[in-house]
């Protein structure tokens, strides 16, 4: 244990010592950067310096997937095998890489040169299959064939309000221009800024759709010596990548949004919490913060610190994110009390998603009235959609609220064409990510607004639109959802801790064709128990997509379903052809729908 030389650690820890326990995650990151992993002696040294109990340091290391308490490869290749990447061959790529390097997934070579990991969603869904490699602190992003220092940004759509600067190739303040919206806000009274945000009708874009102005008002009215503004950039919802592009291509927009929020509520400190899977954003953001500081936008009155996560989806939950900044395991807190009064360090806190904050400068510059001209009455403004899966043009789409799913799919090139150039039909769309729900061709003409989607029981969530064509086996998709939640449950409350595990086990059986009698009702009980009784949003939505699939395709979940599935598939296809207005003459070929190697296929001509 004493073989590890602690000399380089001490200077690296110095700047975190004044932070105390809150410096724990940054300190662990810094130590891991030096040693590659966190040994007992390194962890003890950190504990001693930051004055955190040893057992607690251990508990934190154990919580976050990307902290390692055993030696790990100098180079770590992480391959995403979640839904969107699975459609593009993520599993095959993982297999290929492990054969090529002769090391199994989740294992490390004997000489500690390489580790290969199967990773949850890396937020690179439009570039699927995604691979993220860290080699001695340097990262590359790629699909295994070509690699880059940063992921490319693919942005489409009829409007470019939030994404105006995305893809421009520069993130300089010069390009962004002065913070005119902030300057305008500073001419107003703080309460008028809050009123303007309220009048704009802006609601949170992270998934919960809570009115932003109401949140700000709560924190503005709270009395405290210290308040915080936090930008939640822990974007981890499978299928979501919008915040990655916004921060990487246009960091000043988010920073300006945070400055305005800080002025409105009276905060003097801000944090941007970025998920650990986005290391390439950190230097871009650091440079932008430096620029904003020299331009006088940040400084004594309000300053922003970057915090980097370490592989925990749950830290996107606002109270778990606070715990993480405070140097603890990312356990969500019970609410109430709410963050607006008891947030980070128990102080009044406004925590907003990146996209939400990007709307703020827009609202201030245009004025809420002009802002509301975009979108619909109840869902005003622009919206970003993360389109991935079986489309020709996956990417980030900016549209006003109110376009239909059909519009969006047409822009993105519908379910994509196969190699044999036969157009495949739409089977379903996963809305809102893993915590979302499935839509089918019946929903093509539903307007993409909060109110219209709610009316048909679909969540807009974080703007995920993941498309599956008719050849996809939905049971495989569900199996991956199950695995994702079982991996990401924090383990605090019983319904989610055990429910995500039991859900995964049942979905594995379903996907393997080993469905037991009563699995349907078991899965329902587990799903509803998680939905009704879990402590936080993760557990409450961990069964959302599964329950929606059970409603749409009950046949997939019953014993002896093979025959039934075939007939159900046919009726499904005929339904599609009735509704779908595209290419009605195409031959609808229903290929195998299972992972059970059933070779039966049904061909049906119209």
């Amino acid at each position: 244990m004493s073989e590890i030389d602690l000399t380089p650690l001490k200077p690296a820890l110095e700047k975190y010592i004044p932070l105390g326990r809150s410096g724990l995650l940054p300190a662990l990151h810094a130590a891991q950067k030096i040693y590659g992993w966190l040994s007992e002696s390194v962890a003890s040294e950190i504990a001693k310096n930051l004055k955190v109990p040893l057992a607690d340091v251990h508990g934190v290391i154990e919580f976050y997937s990307m902290f390692y308490n055993k030696p790990i490869g100098k180079k770590i290749i992480r391959v995403c095998t979640d839904q969107a990447c699975a459609l593009k061959g993520g599993d095959g790529l993982l297999d290929h890489l492990s054969h090529h390097y002769d090391v199994k997934p989740r294992q490390t070579t004997e000489d500690l040169s390489l580790t290969i990991e199967q990773s949850p969603c890396l937020g690179l869904c439009e570039l699927a299959p995604a691979v993220w490699t860290m080699d001695d602190g340097r990262w590359t992003i790629g699909d295994g064939t070509k690699e880059a220092y940063r992921p490319s940004s693919i942005v489409y759509g009829p409007i470019r309000e939030l994404t105006k600067n995305c893809g421009s190739g520069t993130t300089s303040l010069k390009k962004y221009g002065e913070y005119t919206a902030l300057q305008k806000a500073l001419q107003m009274k703080p309460e008028d800024v809050v009123a303007e945000i309220k009048a704009s009708g802006l609601v949170g874009r992270g998934g919960a759709a809570f009115p932003t102005g109401v949140k700000w008002e709560g924190a503005a009215k709270a009395q405290a010596d210290q308040k915080y503004v936090i930008c939640n950039a822990d974007e981890s919802e499978p299928g979501t990548f919008k915040d990655r592009i916004l921060l990487l291509d246009d960091p000043h927009r988010t920073i300006e949004g945070m400055c305005i929020a800080a002025y409105a509520i009276g905060a003097n400190k801000g944090y941007i919490y970025i998920r650990g899977e986005y290391p390439y954003i950190v230097p871009v953001l650091e440079a932008a913060l430096k620029e904003a500081k020299s331009a006088g936008y940040l400084g004594e009155l309000f300053d922003i610190e970057i915090r980097v996560g370490a592989g925990a989806y749950i830290c996107g939950e606002e109270t778990a994110l606070f715990e993480s900044i405070e140097g603890k395991r990312g356990f969500p807190r019970v609410k109430p009390p709410f963050p607006t009064t008891n947030g980070l360090f128990e102080k009044p806190t406004v925590i907003n998603n990146v996209e939400t904050l990007c709307n703020v400068p827009l609202i201030l510059s245009k004025g809420s009235l002009a802002y509301r001209k975009l979108g619909t009455e109840k869902s005003p403004g622009p919206k970003l959609f993360c389109v991935s899966g079986d489309v020709n043009k996956p990417g980030l789409y900016e549209t006003p609220f109110g376009v239909t799913l059909r519009d969006l799919l047409e822009m993105a090139g519908g379910p994509s064409t196969s190699l044999r150039a036969k157009k495949k039909k739409l089977q379903s769309v996963l809305f809102g990510g893993a915590a979302g729900a499935f839509a089918t061709s019946e929903h093509l003409d539903v307007k993409m607004t909060f109110e219209d989607l709610r009316a048909v029981g679909l969540p807009l969530g974080s703007g995920v639109v993941m498309v599956f064509d008719e050849t996809r086996d939905m049971r495989d998709v569900l199996k991956r959802l199950g695995k994702f939640f079982a991996h990401e449950s924090c383990g605090k409350c019983y319904p989610c801790q055990m429910g995500t595990q039991r859900q995964m086990e049942i979905l594995n059986r379903v996907a393997a064709g080993n469905t037991l009698s009563e699995d349907f009702i078991r899965l329902q009980d587990v799903g509803w128990t998680m939905t009704d009784a879990s402590l936080c949003g993760l557990g409450q939505t961990a069964a959302s997509a599964v329950l929606s699939a059970m409603k749409l395709w009950p046949e997939l979940f019953v014993e002896g379903r093979r025959l039934k599935v075939e007939s159900q598939k046919v009726s499904e296809v005929s339904k599609v052809s009735k509704v779908s207005k595209t290419k009605s003459k195409a031959v609808k070929k229903v290929t195998k729908t299972t992972a059970t190697k059933s070779k039966k296929t049904t061909t049906r001509k119209k």
Partner: protein
């Protein structure tokens, strides 16, 4: 100040600041609890005490939700019963409840089956016998957190134990899996005292159960060496 509200149709008046669980207990309404303990901070994590509160989207944990005037609370609605039964069934498929008599009683009451989840992965681990005062049998641990809490700010400020892993893989653990004598543990025994399932148990009780006689145990206690107890 008091709050007046309806619980299962019964009008209840209670001191302000009291929880729904307090109200139920004072009025002879049975709400089951697992993680709740008078001596520890309520974390509302077992969710067995959830009740249905009119106007709330999800079920509410009675152990921390404060009673408020004009609330309408159902303690045995269909949703509540399904959640409680399923939580109990999942517990039974996860760990050894043989010494958790309260939970066995709840299972009987809610018609919860011990074999509801076939082929479920169980949390199993060897008995850890590494100190003279208590044994740790995490096969019986249901992660109520009480031991971690009393070891930390709720009582002893010793911080000897915390968590290993995450999610279903969570287990109570020490710094880098150290043996208890090598941790900050002061053998105060409070963790064993609040353990509801026999996962933490005084060593003497454990040895007696293993069939050792009091005489044999006293010899063991005078010995400095740790001995592996043969079951």
């Amino acid at each position: 100040m008091t709050a007046t509200f309806l619980m299962d149709g019964k009008e209840i008046t209670i001191e302000d600041g009291k929880t729904l669980l307090d109200a139920a207990r004072e009025n002879g309404i049975d709400i089951p609890t697992i993680c709740f303990h008078e001596a520890t901070t309520a974390n509302a994590l077992c969710r067995i005490c959830v009740v249905e509160v009119e106007g709330q989207r999800v079920l509410q944990p009675a152990c921390i939700v404060k009673a408020a005037t004009s609330m309408k609370v159902q303690t045995r609605s269909e949703k509540v019963v399904r959640a409680r039964r399923t939580i109990l069934e999942m517990l039974a498929s996860t760990m050894d409840l043989s010494e958790a008599t309260d939970i066995q009683q709840m299972m009987y009451e809610y018609g919860a089956s011990t074999s509801r989840f076939p082929d479920a992965e169980r949390r199993e681990s060897e008995v850890i016998d590494d100190n003279p005062m208590y044994i740790r049998d995490y096969s019986k641990c249901l992660l109520c957190w009480r031991c971690v809490q009393v070891c930390a700010e709720d009582a002893q400020y010793t911080f000897a134990i915390n968590f290993d892993g995450r999610g279903y893989e969570t287990q109570i653990g020490t710094f880098f899996d150290k043996r208890i004598p090598e941790t900050t543990c002061v053998l105060c025994g409070q963790c064993a005292a609040v353990c509801p399932t026999g996962a933490l148990k005084p060593k003497r009780e454990y040895l007696l159960e293993q069939g050792m006689s009091p005489n044999e145990i006293s010899v063991l206690n005078t010995s400095r060496k740790q001995r592996k107890v043969k079951g």
